[in-house]
Symmetry: C2
């Protein structure tokens, strides 16, 4: 006699699309095209096309464990390719089109992808990348609205994705491999260091998706219409191309355009209920509506992540759009969701980034990684642990976790008595002055709140006496000015007097990294010397 | 160079309580005691006590993989014991106190449990069971409000759980084993056959819990107050002692009493938002409120399962209580959740048992198990597949799944074009008459709708000419009568004429199985002969 057992059930990502195709066959995936038209497809048909895509990749020589790269905006074809790649056990390496050809080629050299999927309007960039990437032998052009002229070439061979798909049968078999197989590769933005690759596994992204579906996290439902403005090359568009089919939500893909007018049109025509992206996008949407007088009654929620959300901005978005703004915190290394503000929280507090749900754990430590004796209402270095948290960067021999399995996020944070997380700075950006730490994020928050200021950054400059001293770099809003003294005066009483920067540098344009964050590496190299 | 990877994270059930203890330390688990008083404890303290319970079990000789049995109502101590058992890698074998000592002893002989945890008011039954169960050497009495007199004895040794806990330190270590380890054992109700054991694993119950937390399934939140009236010995109280700490909900445990007055008192005093149990319980609650004129404003939802919910009853409960009734379907072999009616469904239909969420798949087959060519709006034999669906019964050598991994539920069902499941009968209860099938459930539904009828059951009686012919057994409501002809007349035009039973048997009391369902095995043995 033997014990009983439950059924084997591998946590592979193809199951999301399998579920949607069977139980939500006609629920749509919608794409806004360059020419202003809309394409739409049901999940059942999309799955068939994704199976065809797997067959296409296999015919091009892609095998289990190989990387296939994408350089593309959020579109139906990109989603098909992504499921086609992952379903067959290959690894989807998403590339950020805002990087340079050299940066992209260096990433491709690491993943060794031989097939590159490219949005039609990114073909020129892709060709530059391919010139530096001898391993890439096939380029598949998607979303080519002209539809011709992209075939040809031999190094790499350029194919029209639609034409290849039309000649192919859906004969691939999905998911017959271990759930710990790699599924995706995404490089970090590298605003404070060289970009590093994060490899997701089927299991980690599956468990991440189940967390997103919880009522206290993103709480997606089959009646939601979800607009991920956050790109698929930013940590899987926060997992929404997984979460939407997993629960049967309609998925609306904006293509390249994230301006207020384009988004307003799409939200209105498709009845979007949940829109997801960084705060600046929603400022653009509100500005557009203020200028045109439009309303978006279908929209119920806007989920934002990244930096803390200033209360005034949150209030402006919520009032103008009649929505709830859901704050969150995450990073590429977390797949990317860390904490989310629960929707039903009666004690919602401004500036917080939500709470950890089951599957993510948080720890505050000192600079050496020792747990702080008091974990609440005190600032510490944030470490995380969980099913969708990195253990080791792509290609690194060494683990990125400590002996207890915690990953150091590089963030400074506070956790209040209710479990709400507030990110207070980046530990790598801390300035050590006279043996004590200065947190640039706190200074930047005060300066950024001034109406004249567009961008502000504080970096450490080498100092013979103090080791480092803070320097403030600012970009003013167009047509506005403010004297250095007035800038520094605004800090008095708000930060310790010895935190007040020694110098102010006015920049005509703040350098931004590919993700839209201030490029502190560049600032440091230009302004950090003594 | 090696590929990157995500962190190892075992899906073990102790993580639910670990999460609750750290992030919801003061959220309460509340128990209604026999004497009418209430006990309450925060998750952090409950976890400490559960760790002590593990130590107690280890000291009594329980090792990884051993079974520990419980014969107990829903209470804090039962929840502590359950996490204490599962956390250390032992298997929690829940026993149903409504079974006979002989039945319980036969189950214990299979699980070989040496430790039995017993509610104080079930000690007499437990002693009868132990007389038939030579392997049980320790009996731990919980919820003993007198608090004395339960220690002593030597075969088995009887211990007061509280006294043992008070002498023990929380030195156990939880969850350091593979997630495929067994965690629980529950025997089916056996209304149509001998009870069979279903073994849950940490992984299967973890994934089942994540499904329950989805917004379109049970959608529990940290602000919910959950009352599981369904007992823990019925397939893990539908998983709520897992789901509540996993999301940080307050958990309200009713002890033994499920009458309307007790439940109304508890719902009101604890601010219950979601109450879960079989429909008869809620009829009792509504009757009580009608008689006393009370209101329960905190209550938002009642989740029911099992039989289809008659629309009139659903309407009565919803109107009187001001709640949403959420229908569902499940079975012990499904951990137990199968389908749930999504809360936000604008197309809610009466009589349906909800839709399958990610992780459960449904298939309709013919009697031989071949998939029906048309899966929608046609009746078939229901098979299921999923991460929390049985593969093999406890102690059975043979799998209970077909060559494609589907488990035959024994239910007949329909699925509509929206994916809504309706259970239409039990395939084992089908009557074969003249080579054609008669479905007793359809006949019973018509008869049960008559105001004079309390219970109705249709079984097949051996027939020399037709093979089998239906016989109707009825129990009338107190003081009411209805002639056999009138009973049968009510079926004309509602079912095929050859489905109309050949005979009617009036029973003073319908035999019920331990779960409250009609005991068809007994009826068949008494009335099924020719």
């Amino acid at each position: 006699m033997t014990d009983g057992a439950m059924q084997p059930f591998g946590l592979t990502l193809n199951k999301f699309l399998d579920h949607a195709a069977k139980w939500h066959p006609n629920t749509e995936v919608v794409t806004a095209r360059e020419n202003g038209s809309i394409t739409r497809i049901g999940y059942a048909e999309l799955r068939q096309r994704a199976l065809c895509a797997s067959t296409v990749f296999a015919d091009l020589g892609v095998a289990f464990g190989d990387h296939v790269a994408t350089l593309a905006w959020n579109s139906q074809a990109h989603v098909e390719a992504w499921y086609g790649i992952m379903g067959m056990g290959a690894v989807c390496h998403t590339l950020n089109p805002r990087l340079t050809a050299e940066q992209l080629a260096s990433m491709l050299a690491q993943s060794k992808a031989t097939v590159l999927i490219v949005s039609a309007d990114l073909v020129d960039l892709a060709k530059q990348v391919c010139e530096l990437s001898p391993l890439v032998s096939h380029m598949l052009v998607i979303d080519d609205e002209g539809g011709t002229g992209q075939d040809g070439g031999d190094k790499p061979a350029v194919h029209d994705y639609e034409a290849l798909l039309a000649r192919t049968e859906a004969k691939a078999i999905w998911g017959e491999f271990d759930e710990t197989a790699s599924s995706g590769l995404c490089f970090t933005s590298g605003t404070t260091g060289a970009p590093k690759g994060v490899t997701y596994t089927h299991r980690s992204s599956y468990l991440h998706t189940l967390r997103m579906l919880q009522a206290d996290v993103m709480g997606l439902t089959a009646w939601d219409v979800i607009l991920p403005v956050v790109p698929m090359f930013h940590a899987n568009a926060w997992g929404l191309p997984f979460g939407a089919p997993a629960t049967g939500s309609k998925l609306v893909l904006p293509g390249r355009h994230a301006d207020g007018a384009s988004l307003a049109r799409l939200i209105e025509s498709e009845g979007v209920t949940i829109a997801v992206g960084v705060p600046t996008v929603w400022v653009g949407l509100v500005d557009h509506l203020d200028a045109t007088g439009g309303e978006l009654p279908s929209l119920k929620r806007i989920a934002v992540g990244g930096a803390p959300m200033p209360p005034a901005l949150m209030e402006r978005i919520e009032k103008r759009l009649g929505v709830t703004v859901q704050t969150s915190w995450g990073m590429t290394e977390l797949s990317p969701g860390g904490t989310f503000a629960p929707l039903g929280d009666p004690d919602r507090r401004p500036m917080v980034s939500g709470r950890p749900a089951l599957g993510v754990d948080l720890l505050l430590t000192d600079t050496e990684g020792n747990a702080l004796p008091e974990q609440r209402n005190t600032e510490g270095h944030l470490r995380v642990r969980g099913a969708a948290v990195i253990e080791r960067y792509f290609g690194h021999e060494q683990k990125s976790t400590d002996e207890n399995g915690w990953f150091d996020t590089g963030d400074l944070a506070r956790i209040d008595e209710l479990g709400n997380l507030t990110i207070t700075g980046r530990s790598k950006e801390l300035i050590k002055s006279g043996g004590e730490w200065i947190n640039p994020a706190e200074i930047e928050a005060v300066i950024c709140a001034l109406p004249e200021v567009s961008f502000a950054a504080v970096i450490g400059r080498s100092d013979p006496k103090w080791g480092e001293r803070p320097v403030l770099l600012v970009e003013m809003r167009e047509g506005m000015t403010l004297g250095d003294d007035e800038l520094l005066q605004s800090l008095r009483g708000r930060v310790a007097s010895w935190w007040i920067p020694d110098a102010v540098v006015n920049l005509p344009q703040m350098p931004l990294a590919s993700t839209g964050k201030v490029d502190k590496i560049r600032l440091k190299s230009e302004y950090g010397g003594s």
